[in-house]
C-alpha cells in the first residue's frame, strides 16, 4: 500500500508541474498589478490638447462615471482600438483622452510642435473615429506617472466619486469590455 503511493509520487509531481507551467503559458505578463485601483484618481490640472488655454481638473469631471484613455498617434494599438471606443461613445460612454507624448524630451533639446501634433491627431481621429469628449495633453507625463501608466494604450474607469475602478493595460475590445468594465457599470 505504502509502496504504491510512493510510486505514484513522481507522477503527481509531474502533473502539478504541468498544471503550473500550462497556467504560466497562457497568463498575460502585461497584466500588471496597479497601485491605483480602488483609490482616488490623482489630482490633475492639464491643458486641452486642441485649445491649450482651456484647462481641465478633477472638478470638471466630478459626479460623472467616465473612461480615461491614454493614447498617442505613435501607438498602433491605440489606432486599432479607436473604432471600438467610438462605438462605446455612441452607446453613451463618456471617454476622456489623455494624450501620451513620448517623443518630446527637453533634455535633448527637442522642440515641441503643438500645431503639428494637433493636425496629426485631427487626421487620425477623422480617419479612425473620434471617441473622445476632449483630450488632455500631459506633456511632462506627471499625471501619467501618477496613474501608474507604463505605456499606451491604457484605460481607466473612474466613478462619480472620483475613484478608479479599473486599470486596463492594452486595447479595449468587446471581450475586455464585457469582462472588466461592463459588470462594474451594471450593464
Amino acid at each position: 500500500m505504502n509502496k504504491k503511493w510512493f510510486v505514484l509520487t513522481p507522477l503527481a509531481v509531474f502533473i502539478l508541474l504541468c498544471a503550473f507551467l500550462l497556467k504560466g503559458l497562457f497568463s498575460d505578463p502585461r497584466e500588471l498589478q496597479s497601485g491605483r485601483v480602488n483609490q482616488a484618481l490623482p489630482a490633475f490640472d492639464l491643458p486641452d490638447l486642441m485649445e491649450p488655454q482651456k484647462r481641465w481638473t478633477n472638478a470638471d469631471m466630478a459626479g460623472q462615471t467616465y473612461l480615461i484613455n491614454v493614447w498617442g498617434t505613435w501607438c498602433p494599438t491605440c489606432l486599432a482600438e479607436l473604432g471600438y471606443l467610438t462605438e462605446l461613445r455612441e452607446r453613451g460612454v463618456t471617454i476622456v483622452g489623455l494624450y501620451y507624448e513620448q517623443g518630446y524630451d527637453p533634455d535633448f533639446g527637442d522642440r515641441f510642435d503643438l500645431a503639428a501634433l494637433q493636425q496629426e491627431v485631427r487626421d487620425m481621429l477623422a480617419r479612425a473615429g473620434d471617441p473622445y469628449q476632449f483630450n488632455m495633453l500631459d506633456l511632462d507625463r506627471q499625471f501619467i506617472l501618477d496613474l501608474g501608466v507604463s505605456g499606451a494604450p491604457e484605460t481607466f474607469l473612474v466613478n462619480g466619486e472620483g475613484k478608479v475602478l479599473v486599470h486596463h493595460t492594452g486595447d479595449v475590445n468587446e471581450r475586455v469590455w464585457r469582462a472588466k468594465f461592463a459588470p462594474l457599470l451594471g450593464e
Binding site: Q33, R36, L145, D146, L147, S150, G151
Partner: protein
Amino acid sequence: MRFVFVLLALVFAVSAAAVEEKYDFANDEQAALFAELTKELRCPKCQNQNIADSDAVVAKDLREKVEQLVKEGQSKDQVIDYMIDRYGYFVHYQPPVTPATILLWILPGLIVVGGFAFIILRQKKAAQKASWSETDEQQLQKLITRYKRKESA
C-alpha cells in the same frame, strides 16, 4: 594574463564613469542612493529589466522621478513607497511578505525540514526491519569457521 586584467579594469572604469557623468548630486550618499534605487526598481514596460538598464520611456520617466525625489532628500523607503503607490508591488524587485507571498519564504524551509524528516523516518524503519534470526546466526557461524580454516591453512 596581465593584459586581461588591464582590459577588465578599463571596462569597469568606463562603466563607472558612465554612471557619474549624467547626474550631479549634492553628495555621494545621494548618488549612491540613486544608483541603488534604479537597480532595485523594476521597469513596468520592459519586464525583467530594472529602470537603470531600460531605455523605455516609462523607465526614463521613473529615473528622472527618482533623481528628483532623491535630490529633495527623500529616503529610500519614501521613494519606493512613491513608486509602489503608482505602479503596485510589481515595480519593486523585493516582494513584500503578504499572505499571498508568504509561501515563498516558508516553502524552502518546509522542503528542507520535510527532507530530513523523511530520511530519519526511513532509517528508523530500516533499523526496525533488520531482525536477526536463528538461521542468520548459523550462517554467520559457518562463514566464520570457514574463513578461520583458510587462514590457518
